[in-house]
């Protein structure tokens, strides 16, 4: 219990100090806000083009697709807030040797590396994403108005969203941890970011081959489509359970990989 309090207190300190540092650059706030709004506007524009002749996108209605887009925006905001600032630093630590200092602290090194900094500039994305989701759920549309989802659907969707966050974190962390072996692939997280853009659209909008890839190779489907289905009450329980299992496996995998990476680092470094 005392340990948990110590970790919580450390987390609060981590985040208050990094927010204080970021707030020294107020220009960033405007740039991020404009960037999020611009990206959102552009994505909605493209979505409108795709719905041009009225045919649904892979069986998804306009409102449904907006929900998927909203979820993607939330995940992107989370990436900017937590994943990007922390995990891109891991390579820095390895290259400059300051990873030693992290390993010497009496606190779990994966915890430190994953949560040490936070960027408040991801918040506009998260907020905008949630606003879009609410608007899509409540807005009366020509075909169906979904209205508020049932509390069961909301809970399931929330759980699946958390599962998505965990999967996303694990993907990022695994790639960043690989830089202990392959320093040269430090920008692999950028590739991840650019390929996850596929999550903007429901997975059934893609041709079957890509659908397979986005479900089993790069679990984009689990990130946005499945939580969206849950919100719309269309979720089949199999996929929901699968998503939660995948999240658990990814998190465990990232932990195992990190332990192995640490053992490698301390046996072979000088």
């Amino acid at each position: 219990m005392k340990e948990l309090r110590r970790y919580w207190h450390s987390l609060c300190c981590f985040w208050s100090s990094s927010i204080a540092a970021e707030l020294e650059y107020p220009l960033n706030a405007w740039v991020e806000l404009l960037s999020v709004l611009g990206n959102l506007a552009g994505s909605i524009f493209v979505l409108k083009l795709l719905f041009g002749n009225g045919v649904a996108l892979g069986g998804w209605s306009w409102n449904g697709s907006l929900i998927v887009l909203g979820l993607y925006t939330v995940l992107d905001g989370f990436t900017t807030c937590v994943l990007q600032p922390n995990l891109s630093r891991i390579v820095n630590h390895i290259q400059t040797g300051t990873l030693d200092y992290v390993l010497l602290k009496p606190i779990d090194s994966q915890f430190w590396l994953s949560t040490r900094t936070v960027s408040p500039w991801g918040l506009p994305g998260i907020i905008a994403g949630f606003c879009l989701i609410c608007w899509a759920l409540l807005k009366p549309s020509s075909s169906i108005s979904y209205g508020l989802p049932s509390s069961g659907a909301l809970l399931l969707a929330a759980a699946l969203l958390i599962a998505s966050l965990i999967i996303l974190y694990s993907l990022w962390f695994v790639l960043a941890a690989l830089s202990i072996w392959f320093i040269k692939v430090w920008n692999a997280t950028e590739v991840l970011r650019y390929t996850l853009v596929a999550g903007r659209y429901p997975v059934s909008a893609y041709p079957p081959a890509l659908r397979l890839i986005f479900t089993f190779v790069l679990p984009v489907a689990f990130l946005t489509t499945i939580p969206a289905e849950a919100l719309l009450g269309k979720s089949s329980s199999i996929w929901a359970i699968a998503a939660l299992c995948v999240a658990g496996i990814c998190l465990t995998g990232s932990r195992l990989l990190w332990n192995y990476a640490q053992r490698f680092y301390t046996s072979a470094s000088s």
Binding site: V31, V191, V197
Partner: protein, 262 residues
């Protein structure tokens, strides 16, 4: 003239050797350019392209061409420049008799040269995965397409150069470039063929330099009917507009840099 040729050769060979060291990173950067292929997946699933009069084959050729065009028109000037300026590496460059911009330009050209085999391998893999996707463009299309790619690269370089000069005044100029990426993404034809735009938006897009960076070269290579003269004229016009702006801003920026005693 002979001196200029010698300097150019030295710069290109040294930058190429440097790029070879960054092979692994460049492969990853090439992979991160898959957006047009993802968009191809989405567009072929929807019926909107057919409604705009684009056949499935035209669609796939366009996006594949856009993928290749994007690989060879990538500009990363502002990131390295900002880093160099912050770390103080700029000062030794400025002491040399040639402008540091030539160094950055040759770095870009060398990086593109080192990408050629990587893109070739990626295209080969795509061809194996989906045999109908790959085709050989006609000689004319290829010829004009390559020139269009080079022209588009130059245009993008100049556009980013304008923003890069702001690094002399602000530490966060690279963030502003990210804002410029948004119209680039949505108006240049990477995520949607421009023909699918509503007429008003299409007219707006054509007034910006962005369609000429991706849409124009991609359609040339894909073999679609396109007004070649108009395209090249537009690119040249934009370049001529940006060149004096770059020159003035660069000079002003250098004055400020030396005044700050960096």
């Amino acid at each position: 003239m002979k001196w200029a040729w010698r300097v150019a050769r030295a710069l290109i060979t040294s930058q190429y050797a440097l790029m070879l060291e960054y092979r692994a990173e460049i492969i990853l950067w090439a992979l991160s350019g898959v957006l047009p292929l993802i968009m191809l997946g989405v567009w072929s699933g929807s019926g909107a392209a057919a409604a705009a009069g684009i056949s499935a084959q035209q669609l796939s050729r366009y996006f594949l061409a856009a993928f290749v065009v994007r690989q060879f028109t990538v500009v990363w000037l502002i990131n390295v420049f900002e880093e160099d300026a912050l770390q103080g590496r700029l000062s030794p460059f400025l002491l040399q008799p040639i402008s540091p911009l030539w160094r950055y330009l040759t770095a870009h050209i060398s990086e593109q040269a080192s990408r050629v085999p990587i893109v070739a391998v990626l295209l080969a893999l795509l061809g194996i995965a989906a045999p109908g996707l790959i085709w050989l463009p006609s000689a004319g299309a290829l010829f004009f397409g390559v020139i269009a790619i080079m022209a588009a690269f130059l245009l993008r370089f100049l556009l980013q150069l304008v923003l890069t000069t702001f690094c002399f005044w602000s530490e966060k100029a690279a963030a502003i470039d990210r804002l410029l990426m948004i119209p680039y993404m949505f108006l240049s034809g990477i995520v949607a063929p421009i023909d699918t735009f509503p007429p008003a938006v299409k007219r707006l897009a054509m007034a910006t330099p962005f369609p000429w960076m991706i849409d124009f070269p991609a359609r040339l290579i894909a073999g679609e009917p396109v007004n070649i003269a108009l395209g090249f004229t537009a690119i040249i016009a934009w370049c001529l507009l940006l060149l004096p702006i770059c020159h003035l801003l660069w000079r002003a920026g250098l004055r400020r840099y030396s005044a700050m005693g960096a």
